[in-house]
Symmetry: C2
Subunit: 419 residues, 2 copies
């Protein structure tokens, strides 16, 4: 077998081309960001482009009923369970060009490299992109891969609605990505995903790549607060039922929970979205909603934190005379990636002379869904500017991307040639 | 002179007809609310209706350069300075049908009653409605009356912009209410306004009407907070610069300022509007804005409160690593209404056997602008349901409205017959 080297320039060019789809200029900085919210017209344009590239690379393409799109490269023993790789191409509304696409176009670059060298692996290789990994539009992240791996039922996934009450099913049909392939996957031989770190750690520690040990537990909650709207000038403070003020108290409760140390140093909490009604300078908000994003490396600590949060919400509701109702919009347990595949990845990094270390993922990824059905693992590529992500400044160097995808190639080929 | 009795049924019918303009049904309750935000198409429709009624009542109508619309009823000595009355017909987006219209249509009912009885007063009577009293759209309340009475320059008022960067001047031209009359008024003989209380006090104390002693000081501030947007899963808490969290800390500071008692029992503070960017469940907000509405009966206490608030904002900005900039969008000193006119009003209430008491206004009103150029005073009509206002539930009984406007009539006639 010839030495296989990926083409870093070709990879970066593909990243650039996909990054131009749904791109926008950030007002304050002039930087180009990406807005390819799942199942919008821009997401459709991105999907069509990548699907065409899959076809041009000679892959057999299938789209499943939740819009996951796969390209299959035949193996010498084509009945053997395939080795899989992939990620997502949807973005948050204010995203960058690397979060997701690196894993999809990196897997494509692996296929292109194998094609160029005329190499056929023993097992088939399947690459793909998964629907609404971000969860920014329909409220549930890893939607496509969770459906493929059995955590979410197809009907449930199709019925999810966005803020405008438009469903996943409607939008898949509209953009022509409600495919006929069965969404539930037979367990593949292994799944490996390359993704940007989206955090400051690897770069701060002078590492060129990271071997991901697992993913922390994630808990998302959407709260609705009902108080009573009233005139800001005439309503005495003690008669108010201020729904917006409740959110401030929730933020303080989360702050206290974190600084208490009761849930470990890795506990994180974010109120990312707030809506007030009627949202006017001189009206006490009668209605409010907000989201809470909790992360913790430990499932046990996360469970305790959720319990305290529930009790805190009850206390705040009582104190302020408001009603707080909530629903869990996402909850994933912490995940440990497969030790054998991790070791295999680390060995390839050692062989290539790449400085690397183990790292726990702070974000959710499609690979964690695969961890429930097959040996799965991930490679992290460090980012610049403290690893800023979900932001137009998101940036990983061509060298870092190339190094990560070279390791992806080496790992996938090794796995695909296994018995 | 015959006994003059206003026609309560005619008054209520007019309130109902104007209330149908820009009306909407509140989703959660099915109640009819009013949305006649200043200088929108619905405000134009309301203006056209009331202007037609002014004309039908035989008034000489003029529209000034800021859209204030006046109807003049000639006096026996038509060169004498007029007695004025009026209020506003714009509403907050989720308003009721009494806040403003009662004072405008009540003044019209006074004119209709005088017409019906064939009475001509010594002095002319001028009634009117003033542009954007609410300040909900262009951020500055009492805009029209403040321009008429000299607190705000015409050019400044015309240049104000709404959230979509559309200016007052543009909108006045568009809806056909950029009139040719000089906006600055010569001081009238007196100004009397009838308005709903918009609070719970009169009803709770069993009062049929209130004599308004003055208006508390009002301070509005619009804050912009710049932090750094970041991934909610991967960014350690200590590296965050969370612009949304700053608003929670501001709310807590306001709570502490109020409960400290340092600014008196009448101090009120409201964060009524919040915007986060990018406003996503899994992104630490990099940008946020909010409004602060402060009220205090004492100018001195208000000045001290503003000073503490500024210091608190600096502290929060430093603690959270964010930048907080702000601009004052409204600031009016407390106002004391004219003692002679107040006494005159109270005497009319005593003569009519109406249970009444003095009351300080929690809200700003057009009459407070007139207090700077002439003897001015107000009559308050109590509201039902704890005096809820800026809400579709806003309601004052026909009896209460009729009583208030009868006192307005008696007072205006007395003033208009003075030397």
């Amino acid at each position: 077998m010839p030495e296989l080297r990926i083409d870093g320039a070709r990879l970066c060019h593909s990243l650039e081309q996909l990054g131009a789809v749904g791109s926008y200029e950030e007002e304050s900085t002039g930087l180009k960001g990406v807005n390819r919210l799942a199942l919008t017209n821009d997401d459709r344009a991105g999907r069509q482009l990548v699907k065409r590239w899959f076809e041009e690379a000679g892959l057999t393409v299938r789209v499943d009923a939740i819009g996951n799109t796969y390209g299959r490269r035949a193996g010498r023993e084509d009945d053997a369970t395939p080795v899989m790789s992939g990620s997502h191409i949807d973005s948050v509304p204010t995203g960058g060009r690397f979060d997701g696409p690196l894993g999809v176009l990196g897997a494509l670059e692996v296929v292109r490299t194998l094609n160029g060298a005329g190499v056929t692996t023993r097992r088939p290789i399947e690459i793909g992109f998964f629907t609404d990994e971000e969860g920014s539009r329909f409220g549930t992240d890893m939607l496509g891969s969770a459906t493929a791996c059995g955590r979410i039922e197809l009907d449930t996934a199709l019925a999810l609605r966005d803020a405008n009450e438009i469903s996943v099913g409607q939008e898949l049909s509209r953009i022509g990505f409600r495919g006929s392939a069965r969404p539930r996957l037979d367990p593949p031989h292994a799944f490996v995903e390359c993704h940007i770190e989206q955090g400051p750690i690897l770069d701060a520690r002078g590492m060129e790549l990271g071997v991901v040990t697992g993913v922390q537990a994630i808990h998302w909650r959407e709260l609705t607060i009902r108080g009573k709207s009233a005139h800001a000038g005439t309503t005495p403070m003690e008669l108010r039922r201020d729904a917006g003020r409740a959110i401030a108290h929730i933020q303080v409760a989360l702050d206290e929970m974190i600084t208490s140390g009761r849930y470990g140093a890795g506990m994180r909490a974010t109120i990312g979205r707030i809506t007030l009604r009627p949202n006017l300078v001189n009206v006490v908000p009668g209605r409010a909603s907000c989201t809470i994003d909790l992360r913790n490396p430990s499932d046990e600590a996360m469970a305790r934190a959720c319990e305290e949060l529930r009790a805190r919400l009850d206390g705040i509701a009582q104190n302020l005379g408001v009603e707080i109702t909530g629903r869990e919009t996402a909850a994933t347990a912490s995940v440990s990636f497969d030790e054998r595949v991790r070791t295999l990845i680390a060995e390839r990094m050692v062989a290539a002379g790449i400085k690397h270390e183990d790292i726990l993922s702070g974000a959710g990824h499609d690979a964690q869904e695969f961890a429930s059905i097959c040996p799965a693992a991930m490679i992290f590529v460090p980012g610049q500017f403290d690893g800023i992500s979900h932001n137009p400044r998101e940036y990983s160097t061509p060298e870092a991307c190339t190094a990560g995808i070279q390791i992806l190639l080496d790992t996938l080929v090794t796995l695909a040639n296994e018995d």
